[in-house]
Amino acid sequence: MTELLSTPPGRRSDRRVSPLIVVGAVLVGFIALAAVVSFFWTPFDLLYLDYQHRSAGPGVNGHWLGTDLRGRDIASRLMVGARTTLYVGIVAVGIAALVGTPIGILAGMVRPGISEFVMRTNDILLAFPALLVAIILAAKYGGSVTTAMVAIGVASVPGFVRVIRAGTMQVMSTDYVRAARVAGRSGPATAVRHVLPNVSGLIIVQASSAYAIAILAEAGLSFLGLGAPASVPSWGRMLAEAQSQLTTAPLTAVWPGSAIALAVLGFNLLGDGLRDRLDPRLLGR
């Protein structure tokens, strides 16, 4: 863990890109593409209800993946659902990175006593997983995309603090940082000039893993009906709606379920691949 530091890019350009990163990037890219395209075009209008072909199988009446129990086109709803998933993830991870990184760097630079205090507080916050925070906020303010984003973001902060602090402590123990400090470079300047660039790789890896967790939490929330409202297509809600007709139209559950799994897999693979690239310890294996 302590050796998870980034090396300058470029020097490693001779190494092949790991297949993990490629597969992860393709999956994430595909979902992002579907989300972007959905702004301009979807196979069917979202509000169109094909009453003649409800709970239809794939290919029926031009519906690629079939229709749900109200006759809505599943492929179109999946594409728009990708928007919700990516949007919630971006904001949540953004909150976590923007709050968690400065706290982590600070905790890695201050005196051990204060650092210990920050980490104890952090441990308490780690006892609140994303879904739990989201349920708390949904109970108080009612379920919405905003509560989901804020809750998942807040719950992801401790993870960032922990990883960034470990990286910061390692940077702080290097000779060149010591030299800079002796030469009179101030704390804030050291943080910006030396620590931040060196932990930037860690931030990206952590963001990728946090994104996967955010997708799971968002899907779980909308599955429980505490996330996006019924008017906004979301994968979790589609899955929940499909559960009631598992006997008659099982495929309506399989599509949104696979979308969630592939999105999580994509971000996990991306995170793992990037971590392998950054961690010098793993290179020997």
Binding site: F223, A261, V264, D272
Partner: protein, 316 residues
Amino acid sequence: MLWPVVRRALIFLVSTLVASLLVFWVLDNGCEPARVALGTGGTPAGVQALCAQMGLDRSLVVQYLNWLGGAVRGDFGTSYVTRAPIGPGLLDQLTVTLWLVFGSMVVALLIAVPLGMASALRNGRPTGYLLSGLSQVGVAVPAFLAAILLVLVFAVNLGWLPANGYVVPAADPLGFVAHMLLPWVSLGVVQGAVLARFVRSAVLDELGQDYLRTARSKGLTPVRALIRHGLRNAAIPVLTVIGVNLVTVLVGAVIIERIFTIPGIGNGLAYAADRRDLLTVQAIVVTLVLIALLISFVVDVTYSVIDPRLRTRAAS
């Protein structure tokens, strides 16, 4: 030997107090509970009166201490939505959830240990890649998706197991297992995949150690050497991960209980959140967080018991 345990116990106590205060503060919503309790028929004056009667107009600290005084005796107050006391129902729900979590951790270990060991022993070979890939896919499958797919296959198509419901174990042990098998596997498969990755790297770390080479030179096969000597050492990092993941399993149980209509604490939480029953949400969340912190306390202590190196280091 004793001081580290006492120190950790103190940290656990303080953490629990801070966490419960945090939950209390976040869920504080002024007179809103009085408004919810009166529904649409409430006049502003009526809301004010009930608010004062419920003690919601007092300072947050006073309210917290009042609540804490009851909570330590198992009295979490009376829900203003269901008008029933929260404490007794909570205990029943908790028992059900602990059955669910315990069973799924057993399933997870049954999957993770052999899978992790196999993929470590086969590291660098095609089967190794295949097993690692399998656990990678397993990690990405949310428990609720696994649940729906399992229901689809074993309840809907094959008709072997019930699709939902719950039976009290004392009344009908076989029925209990039949009803819990799919929930256990749904939660356990995903956790098993997560744990398998940690078992793999822990075993890989041990495989390079000298003592294993010695064991091999005594004539033990790689697998037997690993089981006899390596697993105990590999258990230490895995134990920590299990502790951390138990919390995830507890929260994952929220959704699994909803799918299988199991009357556990998670179902209670989702139901209460949906009806905005803040007092019940508060009781359940504090209970969950208490369990989470208790688990990490127990893991920390067990950790120092299993690993003699840590014991001496802590004592010195």
